[in-house]
Amino acid sequence: MADAAVAHGSAEAYEPSLFGTYSKKIGMWLFLLSDTLTFGALLFAYSYGRISNPDWPTPFHKESITNATVMTGCLLSSSLTMVLAVLAARRGDKSWTRNWILLTMLFGSGFIVLHALEWTKLIGEGMTPFKNPWAATVPQFGGTFFTLTGMHMLHVTIGVIYLGVVALRKAFLPILLVIWGIVFFSTPADNVFHIGVHALLIGLVIAAVILFLKPKDYDAHDVEIAGLYWHFVDLVWMFIFPLVYLMSTRVQG
């Protein structure tokens, strides 16, 4: 269709985008809107459970809130480094684009590790998706908590892999494999890290398929789109943090 328009010189065949920007970015925005509804549904389900249960537990004492606050700081700082990566990409500065993206990944990885440690602590206290030690009449606390925060942690993990692919391309694949191997062989089988690290293996396979089937040099637009995804992950945490952690703070005891 487009070739025919070029051949006949009919410029009006190219209809400008309704949103005044390139289609890849509109595609990412539409995906993020649909993902908003996924997280919206999970947050509403959590709030529904909370409203309908007067005995909703408040298990998060000072240590957990401090941990979650540091995690929030990690995500907010990663958003800043990501936006600096986008600026560097627009300038055509490939070296700083990669450096800022790697720093973003470092903050994101810090968030994942802190969150997994928090999960380990809660599981150690006897919390499962089906019961919790603080309120026997509210079994759904564990289910809603793990689903909501697990879904978010999965998004952060996908985000780190996505950024790794954009920054390092094929060089990122062996790094992923090495990280998976180290974590898998150095942790016991019932450990949160041992189970969760398989997300990297799945990510490795998907990233390899993408990188080998469609090898390309990612440009400023690709960095900007990856940034949109990353900021969205940060955005969702801005609602999970107050709703799940701050509203269930245990001030005494």
């Binding site: 005044g20 919206g40 459970g49 600026l87 940060d234 955005l235």
Partner: protein, 103 residues
């Protein structure tokens, strides 16, 4: 090809300011939770207002929606807000369980 870069300067300072404000708002949220300044319902309202402000900063500056054209801003934000508001319909049932003691 159109890029948002054409519409605004590449200054880093505005992003640094947004980051500082986001960190400060987070500190206010944590302080509110720890000092138990409000009753739970007022606390929820205060935290949600702060979260909406933080989201607006992230969407506007970090996600660059501020620099997109009006059609993009209105279509994207109206759609997501309308859909999220529609989900509130379920809360009536949660209150029914709480108020009527339905098991």
């Amino acid at each position: 090809m159109h890029t948002v870069a054409a519409h605004h300067d590449e200054g880093k300072s505005q992003y640094l300011w947004v980051w500082v404000v986001l960190l400060l708002l987070t500190a206010v949220e944590v302080a509110l939770a720890y000092k138990q300044v409000f009753q739970p319902v007022q606390m929820l309202e205060a935290l949600m207002v702060l979260s909406v402000i933080k989201s607006a900063l992230i969407i506007g500056w970090f996600m660059h929606l501020k620099y997109e054209i009006a059609a993009m801003k209105w279509v994207m934000m109206t759609a997501v807000c309308a859909c999220l508001c529609l989900m509130c319909i379920f809360f009536a049932d949660a209150f029914r369980i709480l108020q009527l003691g339905v098991r």
